[in-house]
Each structure stands twice: as structure tokens, then as C-alpha cells.
């Protein structure tokens, strides 16, 4: 598998590292990670770089994850790239909103590396 270009968007730098570690434990050893602290920073990265996978929190200052998803679609950025939301918000309503905005998957915090593997790897293989 060639190097996977991955964008992780979370206002917590600790959580970005934990997500990266979980992805590597899930088998994505060959991976380059871009980090963003909110949706606006994530959009900046997508304007200048090509990525294969996006993982994003929902609750963030400046631009939250749902608005980030809407802007990706409106600005025609990262077309066809799978976006997985990783968040503490797990109600059915939040999941519906995320899917409607374009998310391909959803992982609730706290999570195990196995859950990341199950929900993310199939998306990367078909991307």
C-alpha cells in the first residue's frame, strides 16, 4: 500500500496524536499526517494538499466539524475522499447530520484501535 495522506482535524493536539496512533495500530503504517485544529485550518490544508482520508472531530471552536463537511462539499475540495467523524457526540441526530453533510463513517470517543480498524480501513482500500 502506498503512503496514505491523512488529515486529522481536532482542537485537541493530544487527541490528534491518539487518533494517529490508533490508525497506525490499525495497520496504516505507511501514512503521512496533516494536522488541523479546526475546520478552517482543515480547509486551508485541503486547498494546498491532496489527501486520501480525513478524520474530524465535530465540536471545535472557529469552525466545527459539520460546517467543515459542508464547506468541503460547497468548495468542491477533496472530492471522493472519505471523511470519518470521531466525536463524543453520538446521538442518532448527530450521526444523521454528519452523514447528511457527507461523512462516510462515525466513531464515538472513547474508541479502541479495533473500532478504528473496522470503520476506517475499508474506506481507505476503496478510496
Amino acid at each position: 500500500m502506498s503512503e496514505i495522506q491523512t488529515l486529522i482535524v481536532d482542537d485537541s493536539s493530544v487527541m490528534r496524536k491518539i487518533v494517529e496512533r490508533a490508525l497506525r495500530q490499525a495497520g496504516l503504517d505507511s501514512m503521512h499526517v496533516y494536522e488541523a485544529g479546526n475546520g478552517a485550518e482543515g480547509l486551508e490544508i485541503l486547498r494546498s494538499s491532496t489527501v486520501d482520508l480525513i478524520l474530524s472531530d465535530i465540536n471545535m471552536p472557529a469552525m466545527d466539524g459539520l460546517e467543515f463537511l459542508r464547506q468541503i462539499k460547497d468548495q468542491k475540495l477533496a472530492q471522493g475522499v472519505p471523511v470519518v467523524m470521531i466525536t463524543t457526540e453520538s446521538s442518532e441526530e448527530h450521526v444523521k447530520q454528519a452523514i447528511a453533510a457527507g461523512a462516510r463513517g462515525y466513531i464515538r470517543k472513547p474508541f479502541t484501535p479495533e473500532q478504528v480498524k473496522e470503520r476506517v480501513l475499508p474506506l481507505v482500500k476503496v478510496a
Binding site: S12, V14, N59, T88, E89, K109, F111
Partner: protein
Amino acid sequence: MPLSLRESLSEIADPRNLDLTVEEICQMMLGIHCRRGERPLEEEAERVTAVVGFGGLLSGACVFRSGGGAACALASHMTGMELTEVDDTVKDGIGEICNMLAGSWKGKVPELAAHCGLSVPAVITGRDYNLHVQAPEFRLEHVYEFEGNTFEVTILCDGLQ
């Protein structure tokens, strides 16, 4: 008829939900075993407090409190780094732990999960401060122990519709 959570008060205020939440996060995100403690929170000069607010049909907060040593130990388990001072990484980690505690706790009751939002975490550090909330609707306050350290998690509900 407007939606109300008041009929679910006994389920929402069930103390077992808080214990299950704490155990789940300690095991899944920190890889540690913690148990409900009987001794009070250790007195330490340096305190770390994280607060995540609840808004919607339930208003209140999830509050995490510990001494600096326990905060460093938790953040070290979370990051895989050796952290010995309450720096930005420790504060960030404790804020995230509080965020997950709040989210998982409200997720234990479906009506609450759907109709109660979370604020971003605020983390306070320092010495000689008290946290005071006037007459909450209910309050759960449990101390937990791990590896010789203690921390306290409080759920405060000051309004329930």
C-alpha cells in the same frame, strides 16, 4: 406536547452510569484499571480542574478534579509520553478526558444524548480555589483510584426540563 426529561430523572441520576462511564474511558483510552475510591481526593497544592458544560433539556456540567500528580499520570497513560509537570499537553489531555466523560455519561440515556449538547472543555489550574454551584437539581460526586492516585468526577445538574 413539549419533550421532557423529568420522567427519566431516576435513570439520568443513576450513580452506576457515572461509574461505568469512568471505567470505560480509563480502560479504552488510558489502558488503566480504576475503581471507585473510598478516601477523599488527596490534598495537593496544585489542582487541575476541567469543566464541560451541558446545555439543552439538561443544563449543568461535568467536572473533573485531581491533583497535579494524578493529572500527569493520566495524561502520560493517554499520550504514551512521560509527563511530570502540568504543562499544556497535560491540560489538553485532561480537557479531553473530561469531554469524553461528559459525552459518554449523557450517552448512557438516549433521550439525554439526543437533547443535550456539550461545551468545549475549560481547564483551570492553580492553588487555593473553590468551585461553588448553588442548589443543583442533583449532584453525583465520586472519587476514583488508580495506581495510588485519586481523581474526582462530579456531574452537576442545575436544570432539567
